[in-house]
C-alpha cells in the first residue's frame, strides 16, 4: 500500500473511531468496527479509486461492515428482542432522574434511532459531511437523506425539550 495512503488512513482514525462510536454506542465495540474496517480497507485498497475521497470510502466500508454485523446479530438475537426492549425502557426510567441531555442520554437516544437515521445523523451532524457526500456513501437519493435526517433531528429536539420540561417543578 502506498505510504501516502497509509498516512492518510492513520490520520482518519480518530474520525473513524468517532463515527464507529456513534454507530455502535460504545468505544470498545466501535474500535472493533474500526479494526474490521481498516483490515478490509487495507486488503481491498485496489478497489479505492484514486482521486475520490478516501474518508468517504472508509466511512462507507465502516457502515457496511456494521450493517453486516447487525444483521448477523439480529438473526442470533431475534428471540431476545422483547427482553432487550424491556431493558431499554427500564434504563430510561432510571435516566429520567438525571439532568436532561447528559451526553450519556444523548448517546442513548442515538442508539435507539433506527440505523438508517443513525448513520445519517452521525455523518451530517458529527462528521460534518455534506448531504451529497452522505447520499453517495449510503447509496441513497438526497431526498431520502434529508427526510430521514429531519425525522431524527426533530426527534432529538423533542427529546431535549421533554428533558427540559421534565426538569421543571
Amino acid at each position: 500500500m502506498d505510504d501516502n495512503i497509509r498516512r492518510e488512513m492513520l490520520a482518519l482514525l480518530p474520525r473513524l473511531r468517532r463515527f464507529a462510536y456513534g454507530l455502535t454506542g460504545s468505544t470498545d465495540e466501535g474500535d472493533d468496527l474500526v479494526q474490521a474496517t481498516c483490515e478490509r480497507a487495507i486488503r481491498h485498497i485496489d478497489t479505492w479509486q484514486p482521486g475520490t475521497r478516501l474518508d468517504s470510502w472508509m466511512y462507507r466500508i465502516a457502515r457496511n461492515t456494521y450493517l453486516n454485523a447487525l444483521r448477523a446479530k439480529r438473526v442470533r438475537a431475534d428471540h431476545l428482542q422483547n427482553v432487550d426492549h424491556g431493558e431499554l425502557t427500564r434504563v430510561d426510567g432510571a435516566r429520567a432522574m438525571e439532568a436532561h441531555l447528559t451526553f450519556a442520554a444523548v448517546r442513548d437516544f442515538i442508539g435507539r434511532l433506527p440505523e438508517e437515521q443513525r448513520s445519517i445523523v452521525m455523518l451530517v451532524c458529527v462528521e460534518g459531511l455534506a448531504y451529497r457526500e452522505v447520499a453517495e456513501i449510503l447509496d441513497l437519493p438526497i431526498g431520502t437523506v434529508t427526510s430521514r435526517l429531519a425525522r431524527a433531528r426533530i426527534a432529538l429536539k423533542d427529546f431535549a425539550d421533554d428533558g427540559a420540561a421534565g426538569e421543571g417543578p
Partner: protein, 220 residues
Amino acid sequence: MRLSDEILIAYVDGELPPDQVRDVEAQVAAAADAALAATVDALRAGSSVLRAAFNEPMRAPVPDRLTKLFDAAPAPEGHSSTWRWLSGPFAAPLAASMMALAVGLGGAFVFAEWQVERKIARLEAVRAADRQMLAAAVSLALETHVSGKPAIWNNPDSGSYGTVEPVRTFRAASGQWCREYIQTADFAAESFQSERRRAIACREPDGQWQTRLEVAETDS
C-alpha cells in the same frame, strides 16, 4: 414560503443556496413569535451536543491495536510501486542493476530508510490530528462561544494543546458574519514552541468558517 423542518435543518447545516438562506434569515428575523428562532437555536444546539457526546475518540489516543494495523512491514508487493514505474523497455536491465545495487549496499540501508519513513508517517499523522483538533476548536469557538470565552483543545495522543478565543464579531460588507479570534497552540511536533495567532474568519453560506486573515503574534 413556509419554512418546513427540512428547510430549517438544511439552513442550519449550511446546505441551502444563498438566495434561500437570505429568505430564511428574513423570515426568522421577522417572525412575530420567537418560536422560529428558538427552533433554529435548538437545532444548532442539537448538533453541538451530538458532536460533544461522541467527541471522546477525538481526544483519546488511538489504541495501539488500530495503529499497528498500519505498521506491518511493506509486503513484497508493497515494493511494486517502485517496479511499476519501471515497466518500459529498460525495465529488466534497470531492475537488475538496482537489485545489484541494493544487494551491494546491503538490506540494512533499505531497512533503516523504511524505519525513518515510518517515523515520519507517525509524526505526520500526529500533526494532522493536531491540525484537525485545532480546526474543530476554531469552528466550535466561532460558532458557539461569545467573545472573550476561549475554547480549549488538547490532543493527549501528541500532548499538543491550545486555545481559541473569539474577540470581536462584525458583519462584512458582503453581509457575511465574521469574527476576529486569537488562537494559541503548543504543537508537540514543533517541540511545543508556543505560537499565537490573530485571525479573522467569516462564515460561509455552507456554515464553514473560512479564515481570511491570519497574523502571527510574537511575544514582546
